[in-house]
Symmetry: C2
Subunit: 481 residues, 2 copies
């Protein structure tokens, strides 16, 4: 950094100290380190400071100060993002603004089925507070013990409840946002219907902090189901799983809250690295689907429904075998199988991850075509394909061939395999980032696949709201003020 | 119009004729008249032409021509809007662009649960095509026989299915839009998950054609329920209805698809003007709620669920009386009661309408307080209060006192009563336009109640996308380029 730049930075830091106090402006390396590397340790940045304001007013004052000093801000929640969206660049000129201390639950309104939370509240705490009020907050994902609702909103997080309850976007009714000018927009409405102008809420959701900083939100609650029951079904192919999904939706309608696909190799990996987890069928099958019913009546009712469904599916030849959980413990064990796939994959070694979506009707064809292309390009590569089939969202991951050095494999194949997978996704009118966002990881890939018109519209929004490009620059869309 | 203006207009019209052919550029008064007055006959405008393009390419070419000639465009669907959003101003310089001829259903994909439709397709046709494919398209409202999906999207229409399925916004996965620069944005994605940048879709939905013209959309389908059953419950107050709603949601979860409140006076009006429609209970009650269950199992299952719910609610003293429909005909008869309220109100004479929403938990208090204020301001005024209680959305209408001339009453009281109702809505953090949009009717009221920050953000969006203010100017937000 030049001397002039250093002077400018110290004057910015001094102004921040005025606003939040010295103990909330971190500048020492051992204090700032946890904020500068992303969850998957793929990116490490630098920052002139890490700011930890306590409320929206302090956030607004910090933003105004950043504007005055032309310092770029990188908002951060639980720092559990998977696309480097909350990690600053390497310049050391940016400041991280952590919302961790905005951690109050402002209101729970069971009759309105809403909860009003600040951006730094941890997801699991919202789930717990909803449950205490006899309600369900259905957003659920692996990082729920440490991710914050602000980050969930900024990345429009998905998770395991999307089939029935939608993404984070669909669970949000209102927002409070600090604009890039350092004003507070109070849009904390708890309304199911409000057609009084442009949908500002959805502009900020999923924008990864590049258009402003979300400081609080009104989130939807749902009735707490009386019972949740899971089942596993063994099938011959993803195509069969599609037909089975349609049948399950006809039988169960909105009670079907989970429909997760796992290829046989996924379960082999789980079995290899977590041997206590047994394969749930007597003989092996190409695909296993995990289904979940959330029933407002009773466990028996859900189990009865599952039994009728499985009987029909077995008779129709859609399903080769099936098992309905007999207890809560068994239901949990089925979910454990699913949740251990990424862990087993990590144990197996470095791998190439893709978080993609295609129209549900194209999933079978997408897998066939893309598997074949990868087999041609990288012989012996092992496909770890699993995910939220009911949402058209696959974690379509690639593991090095058995016995091959994973690091060497990735060095050679990561780029060409990414291109091949994304090209295939694009041909099938899909998304190269279904639930993880773009961050810095996919910002250029997204621009590559989007039309010029779309990129221009995105830049027009960015320019309209953040003309100085001080809000998380370099993420989501590249933009020169 | 000045001579110069007239020359400019003729040159615009000549260019339009080049694009769509003379028969699709209407300029004769008897041809244009149906496009120039709104559904409720509150607004009549003028237009230099009514344009009826056949596809998105023609719409784009017309927009480019309009930009070149600086002619403002007023997009129009079925012309059934309730806020004058599709009616041009009186200047005669604007052109109406009707999407009626964009009326193809491009694709039905039952496995993806989507239907791809052009903006001019009539809502009822989408419902029918979904049903043919064994699916449900749940958007349903009074004008469904003539409104178009383009208009539903532009106004984010609500209707009777919102409790379970959401507004039009929640039913849309992707859009094709002609931008104010006359480019086509192809965002026709049929994905449940796509986090690859800003949510352009939701920017255009609900913008009433002020940010661009929607030409096609991918809409969500749902499984077709096996049965729909309705029931009526008699209650003492809106407060009781709130508690009953929570109970019904606990019993039925997502199977509860309708929860409509009707005050006793609403049903008296229906009875007075449509005598064959009988009051459904032996004695009179202050409030009646219509409930609907959409059941994936069977009619019997739904009826059993209703019976258990009503038994509990009667025991708890929440409900004073209840009747569950015994047949499809009786289910329909219950809905007919509800649907005849606006018709009966029209028969009773001119009245003041409000389409408002408040947090569901505040509905009882809102009604009490606002009723009292109106009784004070306009003694004898009769409240016609009904609507989608499950969505917090009331049609909170005011009829002149019995025997008083309605026209004179409106002349004196419409403005002060509107102010009083909107002030009360504002105090309860509600919306002055829950499902009808702003159009020209409420554009200034909305600006009055919104914060300066919000109005500025709306103007920033408008300026970013339509800097010349040629897209439906004067609607939603006032803006000077």
């Amino acid at each position: 950094m030049s001397e002039a730049a250093e002077t400018a930075t110290s004057s910015f830091i001094a102004a921040c100290v005025e606003i939040v106090g010295a103990q909330h402006v971190l500048t020492e390396a051992h204090d700032t380190a946890p904020y500068l590397t992303d969850w998957r340790r793929r990116y490490t940045g630098a920052a002139c400071a890490v700011l930890t304001p306590a409320n929206a007013e302090e956030v607004a004052a910090l933003v105004r100060t950043a504007v005055e000093h032309r310092v770029a801000l990188v908002p951060q929640g639980g720092n559990t993002g998977l696309a480097g969206g909350a990690t600053p660049d390497a310049s050391g000129t940016q400041a991280v603004l952590s919302v961790k201390r905005l951690n109050r639950i402002r209101d729970v309104d069971p009759h309105n089925n809403t909860i009003t939370v600040e951006a730094g509240v941890v997801l699991a705490e919202i789930q717990a507070r909803a449950r205490e009020a006899g309600r369900l907050f259905p957003l659920s994902l692996a990082a729920e013990g440490s991710c914050t609702i602000g980050g969930n909103l900024a990345t429009n997080a998905g998770g395991t409840g999307v089939l029935r309850y939608g993404n984070t976007r669909e669970l949000c009714l209102g927002l409070e946002v600090v604009t890039p000018q350092g004003e507070i927009w109070s849009g904390l409405r708890g309304l199911r219907k409000d057609n009084t102008g442009y949908d500002l809420r959805d502009v900020f959701i999923g924008a990864e902090g590049t258009l402003g900083i979300i400081t609080a939100a009104v989130m939807k609650l749902h009735p707490l189901p009386a019972a949740r029951v899971t089942a596993l079904a063994a099938l011959a192919s993803p195509h069969a799983a599609l037909h089975f999904l349609a049948l399950a939706q006809r039988f169960a309608g909105p009670l079907l809250t989970g429909f997760e696909l796992m290829s046989d190799f996924c379960l082999q990996l789980v079995n290899r690295h977590f041997p206590p987890m047994r394969y749930p069928f007597e003989s092996r099958h190409a695909q296993v689907v995990l289904l979940e019913l959330s029933d407002s009546e009773s466990e028996e009712h859900a189990r009865g429904l599952f039994e009728r469904l499985m009987e029909t599916a077995l008779q129709d030849g859609l399903v080769e075998d099936a098992v309905v959980a007999e207890s809560l413990a068994q239901s949990q064990a089925f979910w454990n199988l699913r949740e251990h796939i990424p862990l087993a994959q990590a144990e197996e070694g470095l791998n190439i991850k893709h978080d993609i979506a295609v129209p549900i009707s194209r999933i079978g064809t997408f897998i066939e075509e893309t598997d074949a292309a990868i087999a041609g390009a990288a012989p012996g590569a092992r496909m770890v394909t699993f995910g939220h089939l009911g949402d058209g969202n696959l974690h379509y991951n690639v593991q090095a061939p058995e016995g091959v050095d994973a690091k060497a494999f990735l060095a050679q194949y990561q780029s060409p395999i990414n291109r091949l997978v994304y090209d295939s996704v694009h041909r099938h009118h899909g998304s190269i980032s279904a639930e993880h966002g773009l961050g810095q990881l996919k910002v250029d890939d997204a621009a590559h696949y989007k039309s010029e018109v779309e990129v221009r519209l995105m830049r027009a929004l960015k320019h309209a709201l953040d003309p100085l490009n001080l809000m998380n620059p370099g993420k989501v869309v590249r933009f020169n003020p």
